[in-house]
């Protein structure tokens, strides 16, 4: 744990966002500023949780770091290089299952390798290895439609791990799961993260999830998304969410979020009335 805290200054590895902003449909009537002036450094092997009201641009930041979209201002560096396009070392995991239903689990997990033209044996071997890491070794030949929601998300994590990413970008990956499964998946994710040494950037609007997972919680404002506060969490994992420290943290985060939720709500009201 101590090593983790010390290694926070970003070297050539890790991700560095400098003054990042994103305007959707710029220059049109539908122009909409999603992100403004986000400056954030993510150290190697650091677990960052982005917390904020719905529609505050948290996911947009993930897409920008993934390289799927380009920022309209500022710049993003990953491993010392400017992000201009998606790369296999930055894996994105989505809220809904994004497994290809026409492929079986093994083929899904090794999809990235097949894109690179890896031979069948290597693909199979990698699939077996990463599926074992997520505890789904026996599901290797099954099809996604035969798996539960939690299992599918574990396969999605395995697919990301197969690419040996430096950065795991997770867009509310457990939001569609029931509460019990969600808590299990958080524990599972922490295990995977400890073993992989990848940085994790995890988007959620669940406070408890943020408290359970994060090294640092980045609280966002609403429309446009800006960083309102960065709250470090130093308690060792697994964390007791009912401990006094956790309760303190929850009170603090609630206060930080309350204004934003109110503001976002008021704004949405105004939009729906105006429309």
């Amino acid at each position: 744990m101590g090593e983790r805290l010390q290694s926070r200054s970003p070297g050539p590895r890790g991700v560095r966002c400098a003054g990042v902003g994103k305007v959707w449909n710029p220059g049109t009537a539908r122009a909409h500023e999603a992100l403004a002036d986000v400056t954030l450094d993510i150290a190697p092997a650091e677990f960052i949780v982005l917390l904020g009201p719905s529609g505050c641009g948290k996911s947009t930041l993930l897409y920008l770091i993934a390289g799927l979209e380009q920022p309209t201002s500022g710049r993003i560096m990953a491993n010392g290089e400017l992000v201009v396009a998606p790369a296999p070392d930055r894996s994105l995991i989505f809220q809904e299952t994004s497994l290809f239903p026409w492929l079986n689990v093994s083929q899904n997990v090794s999809f990235g390798l097949s894109i690179r033209g890896a031979p069948a044996e290597e693909r199979r071997e990698t699939a077996r290895r990463v599926l074992a890491r997520v505890g789904l070794a026996e599901a290797i030949d099954r099809h996604p439609d035969e798996l539960s929601g939690g299992m599918r998300q574990r396969v999605a994590v395995a697919r990301a791990l197969a690419m040996q990413p430096e950065v795991l970008l997770m867009d509310e990956p457990f939001a569609a799961l029931d509460v019990q499964t969600r808590v299990k998946m958080q524990g599972f994710l922490l295990d995977v993260w400890e073993a992989s040494k990848a940085s994790v950037l995890f988007v959620t609007h669940h406070m408890d999830e943020a408290i359970a997972l994060a090294d640092r919680i980045v609280v966002f404002t609403a429309r446009p998304g800006r960083i309102k506060a960065i709250v470090p969490v130093d308690a060792p994992r697994p964390r007791d969410l009912t401990s006094p420290a956790s309760l303190d943290l929850r009170v603090r985060l609630t206060a930080l979020l309350q204004d934003e939720v109110d503001r976002a709500f008021a704004e949405q009201e105004a939009i729906s009335v105006g429309a």
Binding site: Y63, L68, P88, S91, F94, S98, G112, I115, H143, D145
Partner: protein, 311 residues
């Protein structure tokens, strides 16, 4: 229709190709009957209701037997009806008028030739429209150059193409196949584009983050993702293909179901018209059934009841 789905789930027949239950292996016939029995039963009842009403109207004298002969009359004498189906080329010089297939064979040949034209037109249109749709979405310049023209031609009734078909292909199989093709090509191209646009963005983004090129994304993500929708589109257009092929055949292709209808009209033979309608209905139904089976086989990953499987 939903009853058949419920039964299918019990039997396990819908996903059974992967892990066939023992009952399906040892009693395929039984499984088949249990899966499709109720559906067939309701279909027969539906037909019986309609035919019964018709017979009743004939019985009380409302339906004139010369204009609307009831089913027992136009289906009653198969041999007599079959005589009208003649696939021998008697009009050609030097051909013995009595040569050629028997009437029953002639009925089958006529059915087969119309079916073959539908199949050929459908296959060409499906492949061409898939290629065209992908081309339009793949290259921006193709979209700019081709899409307006396709959109312009899509609403044109296929009947308007009939003269063109005859100018280009004379008479025979050519114009009939061309008509089926042209009737389906434009709408199916637009449908392909719609399908491509509605591919789950996450699938594409996953492939992109894994370093897939545009070509790889089209071949390995978009193509499999649009297949279910395209098979539904194909099924919907199947009926359109049957309608168009009759129109084309009525203009003179030697023989075919459309030619029989046309002849029945010219010789004032309503019984023959209804007889042919029954044949066309049966053929269309069989086709639809076959395509649905194909859907289940090819698109095993679709959840039941999605993608038109339950229709």
């Amino acid at each position: 229709m939903s009853s058949a789905r419920g039964i299918g789930v019990n039997v396990g027949g819908q996903g059974g190709y992967r892990l066939p239950p023992a009952s399906a292996l040892f009693h395929p016939l039984l499984a088949f009957v249990r899966q499709y029995g109720p559906k067939v039963g309701w279909s027969l009842l539906s037909i019986a209701l309609f035919a019964g009403l018709w017979e009743f109207l004939w019985y009380i004298g409302v339906a004139d037997k010369r204009l609307l002969p009831p089913p027992h009359i136009f289906l009653g004498d198969f041999a007599d009806q079959a005589k009208n189906f003649n696939t021998a080329k008697r009009w050609e010089i030097g051909v013995d008028p009595n040569s050629g297939p028997t009437p029953t064979e002639a009925v089958l040949i006529t059915m087969a030739s119309s079916t073959a034209r539908v199949l050929a037109g459908l296959a060409i249109a499906a492949i061409a429209s898939l290629c065209m749709g992908v081309l339009i979405r793949y290259y921006a310049i193709a979209e700019k150059l081709i899409l307006p023209m396709v959109t312009l031609l899509a609403p044109v009734s296929p009947v308007a193409w009939l003269p063109v078909a005859i100018f280009l292909f004379g008479i025979g199989n050519g114009p009939a196949i061309f008509m089926v093709f042209i009737a389906l090509f434009f709408t199916m191209t637009l449908a392909t584009i719609t399908q491509i646009d509605s591919v789950n963005r996450n699938y594409i983004n996953v492939a992109r983050t894994m370093g897939a090129s545009k070509r790889q994304i089209y071949a390995r993500v978009i193509l499999p993702a649009v297949l279910p929708g395209l098979l539904v589109v194909l099924r919907l257009n199947l009926f359109g293909a049957w309608m168009v092929v009759l129109v084309a055949e009525a203009t003179g292709v030697g023989y075919g179901l459309g030619q029989i209808i046309s002849m029945a009209r010219n010789t004032f033979n309503p019984g023959l018209v209804f007889f042919t309608i029954v044949i066309i209905g049966l053929l269309g139904f069989t086709f639809d059934f076959a395509l649905r089976l194909l859907q289940k086989r090819v698109l095993f990953w679709l959840p039941k009841g999605q993608g038109g499987l339950s229709g």
